[in-house]
């Protein structure tokens, strides 16, 4: 094969490869156009000269950056992140208008700032949900209730600092997905968490019920101490102390294996 044919084949191969990929339309177009441009050339020198004297001398580098920006822009769009999409769209248009703009990387800073903000919002939303679930499970201990409510408050304030309210985030698909609860559980979280942050729930009725049951049971159990300790002799004899190792499977479809079990005899 002659050198010019090889060059032609190289551009053709690149054009076809880029055309086969959904994210490289600019490179596909540019390489196809270069291939067609040099189609009539009889030597490599001719083809080089032709490329040099055309817009195609810098076009591959421009197309590369356009496709890169386009891939980012499409991902941001599919991720439903309009602010990020706008940053990439602006950069795309800048490079489209002036290839030299591909060398100016200022947009990276804007993206890093957006990413940082998004990560802060995700972390705060997760913190609020964890604290809310802990609050639901923590019983009536006032110190614990207050602690979890403070954590919710702190997380909501963190969202405000990242310039987006809890209500606004809760309305977005991605934040809904962060919470593994069903719709009832999610609605419960969204409608009650802000209130808990302001006014910790009053569980004094639960505490009163606990104390009532405790006192009644204590008098009754105290009267039957003999029977209970008698039963205790049998029951405590059944208590065991042991540990083992859990070895994970090779892949997600497998099961843990347990080994190195060691049991301790009860005292």
């Amino acid at each position: 094969m002659s050198d010019i044919n090889k060059v032609h084949e190289l551009y053709d191969m690149m054009a076809r490869r880029f055309a086969a990929c959904a994210h490289t339309p600019n490179q596909a177009r540019v390489y196809a156009e270069i291939r067609d441009l040099i189609a009539g050339c009889s030597t490599v020198d001719d083809s080089m000269q032709k490329i040099k004297n055309s817009k195609y001398y810098t076009a591959p580098a421009q197309a590369l950056m356009l496709d890169k920006m386009n891939a980012y822009r499409e991902a941001a769009r599919d991720n439903k992140m309009p602010e990020l999409e706008k940053i990439y769209d602006e950069k795309y248009r800048e490079i489209e208008a002036d290839p030299m703009k591909a060398y100016e990387m200022g947009y990276e800073k804007k993206v890093a700032a957006r990413d940082l903000k998004m990560n802060q919002k995700i972390a705060a939303f997760n913190d609020a949900y964890m604290a809310y679930v802990e609050l639901l499970c923590c019983g009536f201990d006032k110190d614990e209730i207050d602690r979890h409510c403070r954590d919710i408050k702190k997380a909501l304030e963190e969202m405000d600092r990242a310039c987006e309210s809890f209500a606004s985030l809760a309305g977005q698909e991605m934040y809904r997905k962060l919470v593994p609860a069903n719709d009832t559980g999610f609605r419960d979280f969204v409608s009650n968490a802000p209130g808990c942050a302001q006014n910790p729930p009053d569980r004094s009725h639960e505490k009163a019920a606990f104390e009532k049951e405790f006192n009644e049971l204590w008098s009754s159990l105290s009267a039957k101490k003999g029977q209970i300790t008698e039963m205790g002799r049998k029951e405590l004899g059944k208590a065991r102390y042991a540990a083992c190792l859990a070895i994970p499977p090779k892949d997600r479809t497998g099961h843990y294996e347990f080994e190195l079990r060691q049991e301790e005899m009860p005292c």
């Binding site: 190289l10 490869r17 991902a75 405790f214 994970p248």
Partner: protein
């Protein structure tokens, strides 16, 4: 100070430019100028942590990205156009052209475990032995996707080595790595990668958070069940009225927490306790697991026979039976508590066995370098 910055930032950042030795004289001068200023900048730093925190996104880092992009684009443009033998320009040989990848290859080889990456670089460098025609070389590189392979194969070496050392059922830890690896396996070009990795930005936090909640729920109920059983035994032992009262308080409080929790599971998660026990991953977190290696693959746990006892305890708590009736009737189940007297001795044996089990894993031979990737991707320290 420069020593730490030298290792963590300066050397890797500067060495990246070694991969592009054939840039234009103008760009080479700009890179040299930047290197001098970057070194001065590094030397001025007094707080390593603050420097690391501010480096990415800083002007000097953005400038390096800018220069690197230009170098990469020159290399790319040059590679295509140098092939079109220009009578005015000096013709670069295939061997010299491929030598720009030599320092990257040496680095991959020095790592020791990046075997696929090593092979990909060797395949690329070997093109010089297959042809001395630059256009022919470009055809081979394009046809066999050799430049793409050095990116994808080498990255997979790193991700797969890490993945192998993790518990595959622990999705919160493995997903960031496995999802990235999957993208590298499926992508056919850099732009595919860009798109797919960017898409993961919103997928990874969701999977990780869901796993965290799963673990949290299992831990909460597991702790309450064990404390319930311990409370019960305290009453049975009746060492003093105070300790019996403590036991009673624990039994009532834990029973109420278990009832609340089971209701929450059903109403908010459409799940039962049975579902938790039947979930291969979640069940382990009912058993107070403690990771014995750095990635928590091997875990020390309470006896798994507890799972059936735990189910009975949950049913007991959900029943209408009074605590008095429960105490006086005795129970059919046996709870295995954690070791007490032989705990330390067992810890030693467990640690030895873990070393044996992990011994064959490549990750642990190169942990010093690989753990940085794990920390950054899985957000763990």
């Amino acid at each position: 100070m420069l020593d730490m910055i030298q290792t963590a930032i300066y050397a890797p950042t500067v060495s990246v430019f070694d991969a592009y030795p054939n840039v234009s004289p103008e760009l080479a001068a700009e890179i040299e100028d930047w290197k001098i200023r970057f070194k001065e900048h590094c030397e001025k730093q007094t707080d390593f942590a603050a420097f690391m925190g501010q480096f990415y996104g800083s002007d000097i880092q953005v400038e390096s990205s800018n220069l690197l992009s230009r170098a990469a684009m020159e290399a790319m443009g040059g590679a295509t156009q140098q092939n079109e033998v220009n009578s005015e320009a000096e013709v670069i040989s295939v061997k010299d052209y491929l030598e720009q990848y030599r320092s990257a290859y040496d680095e991959v080889r020095a790592a020791g475990y990046r075997k696929r990456g090593e092979a990909a670089y060797e395949e690329l460098l070997n093109v010089a032995n297959r042809t001395d025609d630059m256009v022919e070389a470009q055809l081979i590189i394009e046809k066999e996707r050799l430049l793409w392979k050095i990116v994808s194969e080498d990255t997979l070496d790193i991700y797969e080595t890490i993945q192998e050392a993790m518990d595959p059922l622990h999705e919160g830890m493995t997903f960031p790595i496995s999802a990235f690896a999957e993208v590298y396996r499926k992508a056919t070009c850099d732009e595919d990668l860009t798109y797919e990795l960017e898409r993961l930005k919103i997928v990874v936090p969701v999977v990780v958070q869901r796993s965290v909640i799963k673990i949290f729920l299992a831990t909460v109920i597991g702790t309450n069940i064990l404390n319930y059983a311990k409370g019960k035994n305290k009453i049975y032992a009746w060492a003093s009225d105070t300790s019996a009262q403590e036991g009673l308080g624990a039994m009532i409080a834990c029973r109420d927490n278990i009832r609340t929790f089971i209701k929450l599971l059903k109403e908010h998660f459409d799940m039962s306790f049975e579902d938790m026990v039947n979930d291969e991953f979640t069940k382990l977190w009912l058993l107070y697991p403690r990771g014995l290696d750095s990635l928590g693959r091997i875990k020390r746990i309470l006896d798994p026979q507890n799972l059936s006892a735990f189910k009975e305890i949950v049913n007991e708590c959900l029943s209408d039976r009074t605590i008095e009736d429960i105490l006086l009737s005795g129970s059919r189940y046996v709870v295995y508590f954690d070791l007490e007297k032989t705990d330390e001795e067992y810890e030693g044996k467990a640690s030895e066995r873990t070393k044996e089990l992990d011994g064959g894993l490549t990750y642990y031979r190169y942990e010093a370098t690989l753990k940085k990737t794990v920390e950054s991707m899985c957000n763990i320290k």
